[in-house]
Amino acid sequence: MTNKPKLKLATTSLAGCFGCHMSFLDMDERLVELLEQIEFDRSPFTDIKQLGPCDIGLIEGGVCNAENVHVLRTFREHCRILVAVGACAINGGVPAMRNHYSLQECLEEVYLNSPDTVNPHIPNDPELPLLLDKVYPVHEVVKIDYFLPGCPPTGDAFYSLLKDLIGGREPQVEKGRLRYD
């Protein structure tokens, strides 16, 4: 074992379903090996809330509200390498299907008109982050260094991305393994 300092890895889920994070865990026992070379910073896996300086940031999910914008910019500021992970981060994915409708139409459909609504009203608690007019891919908000497609990317895809980055190589997605679903 070398004494090389471990790389710091942060992850977050914006407008996503946590499927990418679940798939990350599909690396199974290889996580043990990876943890010899990386350590987590802010991530749903650690519950660390404050982001420190990091080597790698993985972004799941597109950008649907003001808080997503804030988190994404914070990741960009703190991470040397930022990777858009999964269909939603890359092109908005399933949440972007709301882009067909105005925000008003979406809110009315969900909170006022849907048949099983009890006490219909549109939530307006000041704590709630404001929704954006549309769901955006992350690369339209900050510069992204690498992209890992898939819905979700497989555990193998995460593993090869991280091995490449740990080894100081440009991550390569083998063409035969490319999947958008």
Binding site: A87, M97, K175
Partner: protein
């Protein structure tokens, strides 16, 4: 004394291949087993040169292989880094100009557009996503038309006219305002004479025209592009044959 006519040859990426009078560069390449990426070409249907994916350099000039006649001695560059990068950019534009949400599309795994993007190594959309607002036509009992995914290749238009002997579809408008329309006074598919067994109902290279109630029939692993690469020659017929058009 008669002499055998010299065989006419074109040269693609250094490989000489024969062609017959009247063949396009695409026809000759496919016959010789050489893949030139294409989305709007279908064997036997009049080519129209819409998608530009088949752009090759002929004696240094970019031309669409599907519409350019083969001519003796042409020096053609096809599988080059530059051309494939340009093809990738075109494919990225096709993705960004429509609403292509692969994980929620019934065509996923059987989709030539998606397979083309895999072939060209597309990792992201590169251009600003347009998220256009387009009409869905679910009026027909067995055929669905979701214009969100239409890439305006016009294969359905041509297949309906040339093969089905009907005239169900047309492209209206120009440039970014172009859209696929149905040739009925209501504009609805239900009022047309399209049938699920028509080539026009099966030929769509994206998930814009779909046979209803057959989405996700083939599980992951058994879909066309789980088993094939788009660069395999002659796949078009197989793709169409695999579209289920009745209850099997």
């Amino acid at each position: 004394m008669t002499t055998e006519p010299e065989p006419k040859l074109i040269c693609i990426d250094g490989q000489e291949i024969p062609f017959q009078h009247g063949q396009t560069i695409m026809d000759a390449a496919l016959a010789a087993g050489i893949y030139i990426p294409h989305l709007c070409h279908f064997p036997g249907i009049t080519p129209q040169g819409n998608c530009k994916l088949c752009t090759v350099e002929v004696n240094g000039k970019p031309l669409t292989a599907c519409t350019s006649p083969a001519a003796d001695g042409q020096q053609i560059r096809n599988n080059t880094t530059e051309l494939n990068e340009a093809r990738k950019a075109l494919t990225q534009m096709l993705f960004m100009e429509g609403n292509h949400i692969c994980p929620s599309c019934e065509k996923t795994g059987n989709c030539p557009l998606q397979a083309m993007a895999y072939h060209l190594g597309m990792l992201h959309g590169r251009f600003p996503a347009q998220y256009p607002l387009r009409q869905v036509d679910a009026s027909h009992p067995t055929i669905m038309l979701d214009r969100d995914r239409c890439i305006l290749c016009s294969l359905c238009v041509r297949a309906s006219r040339e093969v089905d002997g009907k005239n169900v579809f047309a492209i209206a408008g120009r440039g970014i305002h172009a859209s696929l329309i149905v040739n009925t006074s209501s504009g609805k598919l239900a009022d047309s004479d399209i049938e699920p067994s028509d080539l026009a109902a099966k030929i769509c290279p994206v998930g814009a025209i779909l046979i209803k109630e057959h989405g996700y029939d083939a599980p992951i692993g058994r879909r066309i592009f789980d088993q094939h690469k788009i660069s395999e020659i002659g796949l078009e017929k197989e793709i169409v044959a695999r579209v289920k058009s009745d209850d099997q």
